[in-house]
Symmetry: C2
DNA sequence: TAATAATGCAACTATATAGTTGCCTTTTTA
DNA sequence: TAAAAAGGCAACTATATAGTTGCATTATTA
């Protein structure tokens, strides 16, 4: 289930910070996306690997440095998944509960 | 950062299955939302607690059993957060990159 | 009221995860 | 070409997490 890996990847403050940096500014290198995080380079590198394994990010080695690119489509998949949950909720019990609530107000 | 907890909560196959069950059908009890998961009752209960701590779910004890209610608003917060990332991406480098790509095609 | 159903609490194990340090390689650049 | 910059790989530690088992509690129901 790839969406589980996506949510797991987003479910860490360091990684979410990285994703926010990438959404705000590109291009980023491993260095720039990892700077000022109060963890070591290798610690940050592990987080980047998790993002890459979840395909939320692509690493592009070029010469001495490695570019980090955010995969917007993957974010979209997460949004679509949540929207699907909401749609089902709306369709079934949500509608019923709203009906019952309204009925009880009388 | 509450959205980190939300994503962390969704980033596990058992918990995502529970959330899907809740989105498809309500009401659910701890028992019903935990049945057939190939883990013990207590294992499932721990997952439910994580969902409750993330405020994705509310536990409502009533007599002998405890109702489990999905908090739709929390899902919505996740969707909105992702949409915000996408919006920033679209506004900044995404637009620039598309421009450069188009330019290179000539 | 005795049995059963639904659940809670606590202790325990095993594995995964976050983070570190040390050292090596490759590419720029002064 | 020597130094610096960016990064890879591996081993290690500590803590968090998933999952278990055992036992106790509270509500129903036969």
């Amino acid at each position: 289930m790839p969406v589980v890996e996506l949510f797991r990847a987003l479910g860490d403050p360091t990684r979410l910070e990285m994703v926010q940096r990438l959404s705000r500014r590109e291009p980023h290198t491993i260095k720039s996306v990892s700077s000022g995080l109060s963890i070591t380079r290798q610690g940050a590198r592990k987080h980047l690997q998790i993002l890459a394994d979840a395909e939320l990010v692509t690493l592009c080695p070029e010469g001495r440095e490695t570019g980090v690119v955010l995969e917007r489509d993957k974010l979209e998949q997460g949004k679509i998944f949540i929207a699907g949950l909401e749609r089902q909720w709306d369709a079934r019990l949500g509608a019923l509960r709203r009906y019952v609530d309204k009925d009880l107000e009388k």
